[in-house]
Structure formats: structure tokens, C-alpha cells
């Protein structure tokens, strides 16, 4: 599984925005060091370096009115359109969409990119997840573990779209 990497986006201290780091924290004891877990605190340029040539699971919070709190949006980041709502974690440098575009130009794309966007509703200053977001996070943890266990990246996405 050494060609896999799990990346989280988000801020520990902005409510549901911390769901990415939360998922990473739950996965770490079960998959490291075989699968590196990388927390990205907002510097998306670093993504180019860490995901190039890798199979990647990326977990982020999503702020949207089009889906319920706790819904999990699962998409193929290389084949499907990544919506701007998945890119709210950084005010510096470039965002996720731009990181993908930049990676295309710089020949630094991952081999595969499975994005898990978990819909939150509280992004205020403070710790802790909304209960439905936390429940969704546990689902995503299981999905990623299943995906990693297949070794091929071929496991179906079980989340609700």
C-alpha cells in the first residue's frame, strides 16, 4: 500500500472544518506508517509535492446549502469536476481546484484522487464536530480503510452523493 497517501484539509479550530484532520487522526493508528497520513493546513502548493504519482484519498469539509449536514460527497478528483465548495480551506496561495490545474500543467498529478467532502454547518471558531458530521466522518474512515484494503483503488464509493 506504499503508493497510497491520505491527505486532510481543514482547520482544527473551526468547528466542522476540522473533519478532515479528525478522519486522519482516526486513520493514523490503523494505517501508518504503511500509508502516510498528511495534514494540510492550507498550503495547497504542497499538494503537488506530496501527491505526485500517488494514489490519494483527500478528505475535506464542505460548506453548501445543496446538501444536508453530514452528507458525504465522494468524487473522482481527476475525472469529475471539483466544485469550488471543496476549496474553502485556504486563503493563501492557491485552492484545491487551482492545485489540480497547476499539477496538470507541472506534470504533478496523482495517479488517482478520491475526494471525500463532508458537509458541515458550523465553521465558527472553536473545537468539536457537529454530531452528524462526526457520524459521517466515521463512515468515511471505514470507506477509506476498505479502499486501502483492496490495494487497487477499485472499491466502490458507498457514500451518498
Amino acid at each position: 500500500m506504499s503508493d497510497w497517501v491520505v491527505i486532510s484539509l481543514g482547520n482544527h479550530f473551526r468547528g466542522d472544518d476540522s473533519v478532515g484532520p479528525y478522519v486522519l487522526q482516526r486513520l493514523r493508528p490503523q494505517i501508518e506508517p504503511a500509508v502516510p497520513c498528511i495534514e494540510n493546513g492550507g498550503d495547497m502548493v504542497n499538494l503537488l509535492e506530496v501527491w505526485k504519482g500517488q494514489h490519494v484519498c483527500l478528505v475535506d469539509a464542505v460548506a453548501t446549502e445543496k446538501a444536508e449536514t453530514g452528507a458525504v460527497l465522494c468524487l473522482d478528483g481527476l475525472a469529475e469536476e471539483v466544485l469550488p465548495t471543496l476549496c474553502t480551506t485556504s486563503s493563501h496561495g492557491i485552492n484545491l481546484v487551482e492545485a489540480l490545474e497547476m499539477a496538470r500543467i507541472m506534470d504533478a498529478l496523482p495517479r488517482s484522487l478520491r475526494i471525500y467532502g463532508i458537509c458541515g454547518n458550523n465553521f465558527a471558531i472553536g473545537e468539536g464536530l457537529s454530531p452528524r458530521v462526526q457520524a459521517a466522518a466515521e463512515t468515511v474512515v471505514k470507506e477509506i480503510l476498505t479502499l486501502l484494503n483492496t490495494h487497487t483503488g477499485g472499491a466502490p464509493c458507498m457514500s451518498n452523493h
Binding site: G42, D43, S91, I94, I125, G126
Partner: protein, 439 residues
């Protein structure tokens, strides 16, 4: 008929900072400039109360994903001041080394990803990369070397975890630094080319008149280009320890923004960041940096904020030079940290974040709990100066087409590399025109 014109940058909610820009002007001049910033660090101050003093570096590091080291450094210096701790030179050198890494990362990101597109006429770094992939590639390589420093000393690249009150959790062995040195040597050559490239850009002509000149403020230390030690000094004679910060600087609440404007008491706006450090401490830069500044014809004092990209490139070169010097003289400290026992007191810390002076003050009780905290980030200190720049700059650029004028406003804000959303290239800008009313 004369028209009121308004440049508006929409409000955007972001993790590291939230901002907006509003400029109202007409042919007669600029009537209103509002840079609105809503800074999360204010909330962190409340967040810190009741926490153990040892938690300060790790919690405050979360304020910013780009400059966590700066928050760690200012917080540990303040705590060590409160606890009367003195660190041996070896630990000071290690802290300086990790700060070099952050300066390289942060400055390079700004130079290549945020500021360069302004000068080369692109709306974003991505658009620029399509035509200039080599430039972006250089930036990524240089930044990677900065990442390597932070990763080695901090335990990981993002939100490093090895810094603690009293020193580090673990100090590296000299042999661990050796491979890093090789990488830095190569990257330093690239950083030299960055200086040459940055100096060759075309800069908007903007320098303030004599009566409106900046008061630059940065740390100043007799032995070293400032990162985490020294007096707080200014180009108008200020020279105070961090403990006197609150006596000389004031934060004011401005009606249109929840952020606080910092001013020098009875003096007004001031300017922190790379240009301030450079202008106050030029003589303390390494010979290589001064030699290169001379080679590209860049003066020891810079008053045009559009040239801050050159100053940043010189500071990146300095950071490489300094990091190599520290590694060459490195001796593993006897202990990775000095023991920090709690005691009641107040401590002050001021260090040089990539964007400028970062001030922390903490009061702790005898059990080590934080009772009060104050954090003043560089961006809040530059807010008023940015507004003044826009107010003074716009009349000189009124002849430009409106779209270009808007771009010029954004570029002027980016001169300061502010830690807010409106410094980035993905803002949506709106220009509104309305007939003048009254008069």
C-alpha cells in the same frame, strides 16, 4: 458628468482571515478607502485563557497554516520571558534555523504564486504557469528546500510539533543536518537567480512625498538580522523592548470592521514586514546578499512597496545563507530544552513573522494557567498603511482603464502579503459606477 466610482472586493469567509476592500473615488480624488479584515487571532486570545502555558506554541501555531513557526516563536519567547528562562546559544541557533525555513516557504509562495502574476500580467499563478512553467517550477523547488528545514526541525512540514517552551522536544544530531545542507546549497543558487529575476521586473512608480513617508518598524539586534531577538525599532527613532509594546502601540476599533487597527501612539500608521526589516537592518544582511543587491542595483533603503518582491527575494537568499551558516557551526545542545517550571508572571514576545512583527503577551498564574493573552498579527499592523497607500496611490493612476486600476489596487494590497483572503488571486472583483449625488 463626474461620477462616483466604487471598487469593491466581495467579502469572503476563510479560515485564516476574512477581508474586503472598498474604495470610493471620482475624478476629483479618493474619498473613501476601507480595508476590512476580520481576524481569527482575536478569538484565539479568548481560546488561550485557562490553558496550560506549555500549550501556547501548539495552539497558536494553528492560527496560520503558512506561518505556524512565527506563532510558536512569539509564544515561546513570551512564556520564557514570563518564566525568566534563558536559552543557550545552541537552542537559539536551532530556532533561527527553523525560522529560516518558514521565511523561505512563505516568501517563496508569495513571490511566485501570488505576486509574480501581477507583474507578468496574469490573473493567477495557474494561468502564469501555462506560459512560464519554468518560473513556477523554480518556485516550487526553492519552497521545497524551506519545507525540508521545517520538516526536519519541526517534526513535520505543516503545523510542526517539535517546538516547546524552553527549546525543542528533540534536537537533531549534526549528521542529520548534513543532507539538508546539500539541498540548501543548491537551492541558494536558485534563490540568487530569483533575486536577479525579481529585480528585472517592471515596477509601478510609487514613492510617498516627504511629509507622508512610512515609519518602518521591525526588530533590531546588534549582532544579527532580526528574527526572534532584539529591540522593537523604527526609522523614526523608536527603540523599545517587547515589554514596552503596549505603551507605544495602540489598537483601535474601526466602525466598518471587526478587526483592530494598530497605530503608533500619537504617530499613526506604521509599516512592518520585509521592507521594514531590510531598511532598518540592511548592514546585518550577509555579504552575499548585500553583494547581490548591489549587483542588481537595488538600494539599501527601499521606499516603493511594489518593490517588496525584490526585498522578499533578498530575504529568501539571506535565509538560505543563514541556514547554511548555522548548520556549519552546529553543535548538538547538551539538552533539547531548558526545564520550564510554572510561576506567576507576565511575559512579552516579539518576533519577525515573514509578514512582519508578531507580538504576543501572556499572563500566567502560579500553576501555569494562562489568565490573559494578547496577540497582534502583522497584517493588523499594516492595515492602516495599506489603506493610506491606496488613498495616496490612486490619484497617480487615475489615467488607467478601470479594470487596470482595480488590478493595481489588488497588487498594492499584495505588496504587503497580508494574511487575508483579499490578498489572493481568486477574489471576485466588482466595479460599480453611480451618478454623483448632491454637491
Amino acid at each position: 458628468m463626474a461620477k462616483n466610482k466604487t471598487i469593491k472586493v466581495d467579502y469572503l469567509a476563510r479560515v485564516e482571515g476574512e477581508g474586503a476592500l472598498y474604495v470610493r473615488y471620482d475624478d476629483a480624488g479618493v474619498h473613501e478607502v476601507k480595508l476590512k479584515i476580520f481576524e481569527p487571532p482575536r478569538f484565539f486570545e479568548g481560546f488561550m485563557r485557562g490553558r496550560d502555558f506549555r500549550e501556547a506554541p501548539d495552539i497558536t501555531a494553528r492560527i496560520c497554516g503558512i506561518c505556524p513557526i512565527a506563532y510558536q516563536m512569539s509564544s515561546v519567547h513570551a512564556m520564557e520571558d514570563a518564566l525568566h528562562l534563558k536559552l543557550p546559544p545552541e537552542l537559539h541557533a536551532l530556532r533561527r534555523l527553523i525560522y529560516c525555513g518558514e521565511w523561505i516557504e512563505s516568501h517563496t509562495l508569495h513571490i511566485y504564486m501570488l505576486h509574480a502574476p501581477d507583474f507578468l500580467g496574469y490573473p493567477s499563478a495557474v494561468a502564469m504557469a501555462k506560459d512560464h512553467p519554468a518560473i513556477v517550477q523554480d518556485g516550487l523547488r526553492i519552497k521545497k528546500a524551506g519545507n525540508a528545514i521545517v520538516s526536519l526541525l519541526g517534526g513535520r512540514e505543516v503545523h510542526p510539533i517539535n517546538v516547546r517552551v524552553g527549546g525543542f522536544y528533540r534536537a537533531p544530531r549534526a549528521v542529520e543536518l548534513k543532507p539538508l545542507r546539500e539541498e540548501l546549497l543548491h537551492a541558494r543558487d536558485m534563490a540568487m537567480n530569483t533575486v536577479r529575476w525579481a529585480a528585472s521586473l517592471l515596477f509601478p512608480k510609487f514613492e510617498r512625498e516627504q511629509s507622508q513617508q512610512y515609519e518602518f518598524v521591525s526588530l533590531s539586534h546588534e549582532d544579527e538580522y532580526p528574527m526572534s531577538r532584539g529591540q522593537i525599532a523604527s526609522t523614526r527613532g523608536l527603540s523599545i523592548p517587547a515589554s514596552a509594546y503596549d505603551n507605544h502601540f495602540r489598537e483601535e476599533h474601526i466602525e466598518y470592521s471587526s478587526a483592530l487597527h494598530s497605530t503608533l501612539i500619537e504617530r499613526g500608521a506604521y509599516f512592518v514586514g520585509p521592507m521594514a526589516r531590510y531598511n532598518i537592518n540592511y548592514a546585518l544582511l550577509s555579504p552575499l546578499v548585500r553583494q547581490l543587491a548591489d549587483e542588481v542595483g537595488f538600494p539599501p533603503f527601499c521606499a516603493n512597496p511594489f518593490q517588496s518582491i525584490v526585498v522578499r527575494s533578498l530575504e529568501v537568499l539571506y535565509a538560505f545563507d543563514e541556514a547554511i551558516r548555522i548548520i556549519d557551526g552546529y553543535r548538538k545542545p547538551d539538552a533539547a530544552h531548558v526545564t520550564a517550571e510554572p510561576r506567576a508572571g507576565t511575559g512579552y514576545g516579539a518576533t519577525e513573522a515573514p509578514r512582519g512583527l508578531l507580538y504576543h503577551r501572556y499572563q500566567i498564574d502560579d500553576s501555569g494557567k494562562i489568565v490573559d493573552a494578547k496577540i497582534v498579527a502583522p497584517t493588523s499592523q499594516n492595515q492602516k498603511t495599506i489603506e493610506d497607500d491606496l488613498r495616496l496611490m490612486l490619484p497617480k493612476f487615475m489615467h488607467l482603464p478601470e479594470k487596470q486600476l482595480q488590478a493595481q489596487c489588488e497588487q498594492a494590497i499584495r505588496n504587503y502579503d497580508p494574511c487575508i483572503s483579499c490578498s489572493t488571486h481568486f477574489l471576485r472583483l466588482k466595479l460599480e459606477q453611480a451618478p454623483r449625488t448632491g454637491v
